[in-house]
Subunit: 308 residues, 2 copies
Amino acid sequence: MGKLVIVGTVAFDEIESPFGKTDKILGGAATFIGLAASQFNVDSTIVSIVGDDLPQAYLDLLTSKGIDISGIEIVQGGKTFYWKGKYHNDLNSRDTLVTELNTLADFNPVVPENYKDADIVMLGNLHPMVQMSVINQMAKRPNLIVLDTMNFWMDNALDDLLEVIKHIDVITINDEEARQLTGEYSLVTAAAKIQTMGPKYVVIKKGEHGALLFHDENIFFAPALPLKEVFDPTGAGDTFAGGFVGYLAATDNISFENMKNAVIHGSNLASFSVEKFGTERMETLERDEVNKRLHQFKALTQFDIELK
Amino acid sequence: MGKLVIVGTVAFDEIESPFGKTDKILGGAATFIGLAASQFNVDSTIVSIVGDDLPQAYLDLLTSKGIDISGIEIVQGGKTFYWKGKYHNDLNSRDTLVTELNTLADFNPVVPENYKDADIVMLGNLHPMVQMSVINQMAKRPNLIVLDTMNFWMDNALDDLLEVIKHIDVITINDEEARQLTGEYSLVTAAAKIQTMGPKYVVIKKGEHGALLFHDENIFFAPALPLKEVFDPTGAGDTFAGGFVGYLAATDNISFENMKNAVIHGSNLASFSVEKFGTERMETLERDEVNKRLHQFKALTQFDIELK
């Protein structure tokens, strides 16, 4: 059972989509990553910060999934990070209506002592200096450091971002962000350029069009499962990342071949996450359902051409 | 060796892209389909119409690939169909600058007598009544009728289109067109609806995002090979279709399992087609190169998760 440190937001999300709207519900990168990783046999902790306005039931949910929450700082009298967004009709784009950093503005992550020897560190989307501080706290170099980021940090903290990615092994990033970071339109060229910046593995997320894993000259592609209905894409990328690191930690194997399986597991879990608002689907997801859908992934992608 | 009838345009194309521009060069749906299908062991004929302005060398090229051209009517004093287009920077969209139907305006396709018993008929993008006329000329029901179409016919000849697709087995269509034809955003739902209109198999082409094959509850996905450079997407969809039908004709097996292989072969050939302007890459493509790239497709998509 691999040890996994997850750093990221635990938050309130409020979502409008063509299918309806929510109140303030549980969200945040670390939440989605943690719930996805909990599908595997891992010993994980979430490092985050919240206010005391976050319902205890949300924290209890994480604990019930076997996630250690001793690294979640609860600021008395503080307010939890809050994001409100509205999806457009095609669900491929959204507008951010409200972002309130609240306690996140002063987040100084503290990795619990007994997780400083973790095998894998998953740095969810946060200020690159916060991500760097977590790396610096580890007692030994983790076997694998995975980092997620977004265009906001390229626009506002590029130097810090370029510094932290020198120290990581895998970056997960979407297609437009890969292009922005490198100035290259071709994802193959962009991924090659990113590999010269630090990470030896590059995962480019293309939403409903799947995800690409790059390493040296090797490319692997995991499709997104075609679905009749997508309800709420919030957290899909984090769920993907959680499945990716959760599977790698549980199997204790960070070879490229095993990373292929990990991106399939990540895609598989993301296909559930989008079926309901927020974390709802992930909260009740059973391993039987997960295994059943893996068969669909195999049917979707495996073919039998005799190669010459 | 299966017998294949290909109906479609043999044309002049003139292309501008961010990478340069061409003079009038050889193009047309039937041309790309025929060149791709010629990679397989098939006995194919092209049914089309051209003017006597088409260089003899273009016809000789087709003949040199083993394609029968007795069904290409050459109109003395007539002019060949001409299309001029300009690609935008991302190559995913283009403007049509000129369309001159010329001889195509009066195209009455005539299937050569010795191909009226063909195993497979590939109806390239044309007026649906022209496509229907080819079906009606066949002496026996072909094992498989494949039809490609586009939004133009949905806008201008929808009733005729709905009539011809009642008589076919496989439709190839792009994602936006599938949505337009059905009014459904989800491609899964759109494909299910199209299957109630006639074709038992639906291939949805997503350009650089690959292609989906639907049949009943089954879905198969073929990615597009991620490329460092895409030079000219003209003809990629037709090359895909040509690989699809060429492989099926050569293997004489139209099962869903074999169609999976066929869409991989189609994607594989399309990945070459876009590497140079027009038909240039397909003219010199060797089977060794094709086989080598199939290994890349396998590495790109195959994984080894033990299913429970």
